[in-house]
Symmetry: C2
Subunit: 112 residues, 2 copies
C-alpha cells in the first residue's frame, strides 16, 4: 500500500505546542514533520541525542544554536543540517508570523 500526503496540509495557524507527525518509519529510521508556531527550546534546555538527525526547514524560519558556537545558525526555506550524535543544540527561536515546517530524519535511533 502506497501511503501519501502533503507536507503543507493541516498547518495550525497557531498552537500551544509544536505539532509532530510521523510520516514514515523503517528499521532504525523515523521521518517526522514538525510544525512550530513561535516555539523555542525552554531556557537552559539542550537536545543531546545519541543518533544522527538530518533536519530541513521548508517554510518559515528558525535559529538553531550549537553548544560552543558563538551564534545560532539561521535557517530559511531549504536550509538543512546534519546533526551528529552528541552535538548539543537548541532552537533559539522559530518564526512568529508564519508556521515553520521542519522535516526531521532520525537515523540509527535506538528502539525505532
Amino acid at each position: 500500500m502506497v501511503r501519501s500526503g502533503n507536507l503543507f496540509a493541516d498547518l495550525p495557524a497557531r498552537s500551544d505546542a509544536e505539532l509532530t507527525t510521523i510520516l514514515a518509519e523503517g528499521p532504525g529510521v523515523v521521518i517526522e514533520r514538525i510544525v512550530s508556531t513561535g516555539q523555542a527550546s525552554p531556557a537552559g534546555f539542550w537536545y543531546d541525542q545519541d543518533w544522527t538527525e538530518w533536519v530541513a526547514l521548508l517554510t518559515g524560519s528558525a535559529a538553531v544554536l550549537f553548544e560552543g558556537e558563538g551564534k545560532p545558525r539561521v535557517l530559511t526555506p531549504g536550509g538543512h543540517l546534519t546533526i551528529p550524535p552528541l552535538a548539543r543544540h537548541r532552537v533559539e527561536w522559530t518564526d512568529a508570523d508564519e508556521p515553520t515546517v521542519w522535516l526531521a530524519v532520525h537515523m540509527g535511533k535506538r528502539g525505532s
Copy 2:
C-alpha cells in the same frame, strides 16, 4: 561537525540527466536530493526496489505511476509518498518549465 546546505541551491535550469546529490547517510539510510528538469523514466522501465523509499516533491511537479493503478499520481509541492518494497513504479513525467526538486529517503537499502 555539523554539515549544512540548502535544498534549493545550485539548481540547474536544464540538464540532460537528473542530478542526484547525497545529503546525509546513516546505517541503512540514504537521504538524497534529486533534481529533474523534464526527465521521465525510459519507456517500459519500472523501479523495482527491495527497500522502502519515502519521497517528497518540493518544487515543480511530477507524475508517478504504480503498476496496477489506472492513472499516475500527480505530485505538487509538499506531496509525499511512501513506496513499499517491490511496489513497481515509474516517473511518467516531470515539470518541463521549472526544476522539480525531490527529497528521497531510502530505508533499509542493502549495502548502505
